[in-house]
C-alpha cells in the first residue's frame, strides 16, 4: 500500500471483556499489514467504537469478543452506526461469540443478520481478516 493513503481501522474488545493478548497481536498484525490502527483496547462500548470511527474517519470497525457475551454486547451496533451517520462502515466481528461450543454456521448467520459484514470463528489467524479487508476496501 505504498504511495497510497493508509486506511484507518478501529480495533477493540467489546463489552465487559478484558482479553488483552489477542488485541495486542491484532494491533501488531494489522499495523504490519499497512493499516493505521486506532486501538481502543478492552472493555469498549459500542459508543466508544463508533465515536472513535467518526473521529478518525475510519474505514472499518473490528470488534473482538472472547468471553461469550458477544451476542448481547453486539446487538444494535449497526443501527447505532446508522444513527451516527456511518451506517455504511465495514463491521467485522470475531472470537468466542456465544457461550459454549456451538456450530459456527448458525453463529455466523446470527451476526450477519445483526449487520456484521464478516464474522470469524475462534482460532482465526490475523491473515484472514487482513486479506478480507483488503478485498472489501478494494486494495487487493
Amino acid at each position: 500500500m505504498e504511495g497510497r493513503e493508509r486506511k484507518t481501522l478501529v480495533l477493540g474488545v467489546i463489552g465487559a471483556d478484558v482479553h488483552a493478548v489477542g488485541n495486542r497481536i491484532l494491533d501488531y498484525a494489522f499495523t504490519q499489514a499497512g493499516f493505521k490502527v486506532v486501538n481502543i483496547g478492552v472493555m469498549a462500548s459500542q459508543e466508544e467504537f463508533i465515536q472513535a470511527a467518526i473521529e478518525t474517519s475510519a474505514a472499518a470497525i473490528l470488534v473482538s469478543s472472547l468471553y461469550g457475551h458477544g451476542e448481547m454486547d453486539c446487538r444494535g451496533m449497526r443501527e447505532k452506526c446508522q444513527e451516527a451517520g456511518i451506517g455504511d462502515i465495514l463491521l467485522y466481528v470475531g472470537g468466542n461469540l456465544v457461550v459454549g461450543k456451538q456450530d459456527f454456521g448458525p453463529v455466523e448467520k446470527l451476526f450477519r443478520k445483526m449487520g456484521f459484514d464478516r464474522v470469524y470463528p475462534p482460532g482465526t489467524m490475523p491473515e484472514e481478516p487482513i486479506a478480507d479487508l483488503r478485498r472489501d476496501l478494494g486494495l487487493a
Binding site: A16, V18, N23, V99
Partner: protein
Amino acid sequence: MELSVKQMDPEEFGRQRQEVLTAWPTGKEVDFDEAVAYQKELPAAKVMAAKLAQGKAKGVTYAQPRAGVALISEHIELLRYLQDEGGADLLPTTIDSYTRQNRYKEAQGGIEESRSIGRSMLNGFPAVNHGVMACRRVVESVGVPVQVRHGTPDARLLAEVTLAGGFTDFEGGSISYNIPYAKDVPVENTIKYWQYVDRLVGLYEENGVRINREPFGPLTGTLVPPSISHAVGVIEAVLAVAQGVKSLSLGYGQCGNLIQDVAALHTLPLLAQEYLKKLGYPEVMITTVFHQWMGGFPQDEAKAYGVISWGAVAAALGKATKVIVKTPHEALGIPTKEANAAGLRTTKQVLNMLRDQTLPQTEELTLEEKMILRETRLILDKVLELGEGDMAVGSVRAFQAGVIDVPFAPSRFNVGKILPARDTTGAVRILDFGCLPFDREIRDFHQERIARRGRDEGRDPSFQMVIDDIYAIGKGMLVGRPRG
C-alpha cells in the same frame, strides 16, 4: 481512608459495609452473625481450608474445574455432574463477567434472557443477583467445598453475599483481579476494596470460621515470568494476612517448561513465608495452586488432551496442593459439562499415576529456584523500599514505576514495558526488562538464554518471536519456532 497495609479500622469497615450492602437489593439478605452460625454448621468435608490442610498433609494434588452458568438449578446440575462424573475434588462457582464489573442490571438481563431462551447467556453464575439463599442451595447440593472464582476488581458485595451464602473459599486480590481484569481502575482503589474483602474474611476467622483466600496466580496467563506472578502473590498474601486471613492458596500458571514450573511451585510458598515472617505477621497455612496452561489451546480435542495432561504432570511432579483444570473445548469457549468432566478425568488419571513420583532435585532445578527467589526478592524489596516499609503504598508506587509490570495486561495502571519470550527449552525469560529492578547477573542470565534461542533459530529476538510463542501451543508446539 489513607492507603496503608494496616488492618482497617472497624468504623471505616462499618461505614463501607452499609454502602456495599445497599448497592443491590440482595445485600440486605446478609446477616453476619447468622452467616457465621451457618458457616459453623458446615461439615468439615465442605470446608476448603480443612480439605486443603488434609491434602497438604497427605501430599496429594486435588483437581478443581472452572464452572458457572446463569441459572441456579442448571448451575447445581453442572456442579453435581463435575463432582459425580468428573471426580472433582473441589468445586468452583465461576462468576459471570457482568457481575465482575458490578453491572448487576446487565446480569439480571442475562438471567432473564437465559430463562426465556433456555440456554445460558452468561459466562458464569451471577451470585449477587441470585442472593444468599441461592448460594446456600448451591453449597448444600454438593459434597465438596465450593470456591468463588471470578475476576472482580471490587468484589466487596460479591464476598458479602457468597460468604454469607456458605462458600468457604474466595479467589482474587487487589492486583491479580485488577491489572489483568480492568482497564481503568487505580491499584490504590482495588487495594482498598480487597482490604475490605480480607477484613471480612478476618472477621469470620475471629468468629471461628475459616475462609480460604486465593490470590489469582496466572495474571494475564500469557508468558508471565514466575518472579512477577510470585511477587504479586506474596504482596496479596501480606495484604490479606494483615487483615486477619489465616489460610491462603497461592497460585501459579503453567509456563510449560517442567523444570521452571516445578521450581516455581517450590519457591512460591517459601517466599510468602519469608516475607510474612520478615514483616512480623503470624504464621498462616499456605497451600499452592497450579493452573494448567492458561494461553491459547489447540482446537483439536485430542491435542487439547495432550496439553491438559502436560499440565497435570507438572502439577503432580511439583506437588501442588491443587490444580485448576482445563477442558478439551478450551479453544472453543465455555465448555459443555461433558467436556469439563472429561478434562477432570484426564487430569485425575495423570495425578493418580504420578501420585508417588517427584521430580528429583537437580542442578538445573536448583538454578531455576535460585533465579526465581532472587528475582522475586529484588522486586519485593524494591516495593517495600518504595512504600517506606508499607506493602500497600509500595505496590501502588511499584506499578507507577514499572517495578512490577505484567505482560499483556489491559490496565492503564500497568506500565506494560516488559517483553517476555521463551528460551530454547521453553522456559519463560525476559527479552525487554522495562523498569524491573533486576541486577546485571539476572539480566545476563535472561539475555544469554534468549540469545541462545535466537542462534538456534537464526534470527534476532523480537516481538515476532513473542507472537510466535503466543500462538505456539495452539499450533502444537511450546516454543514458537519460525517455519521450516
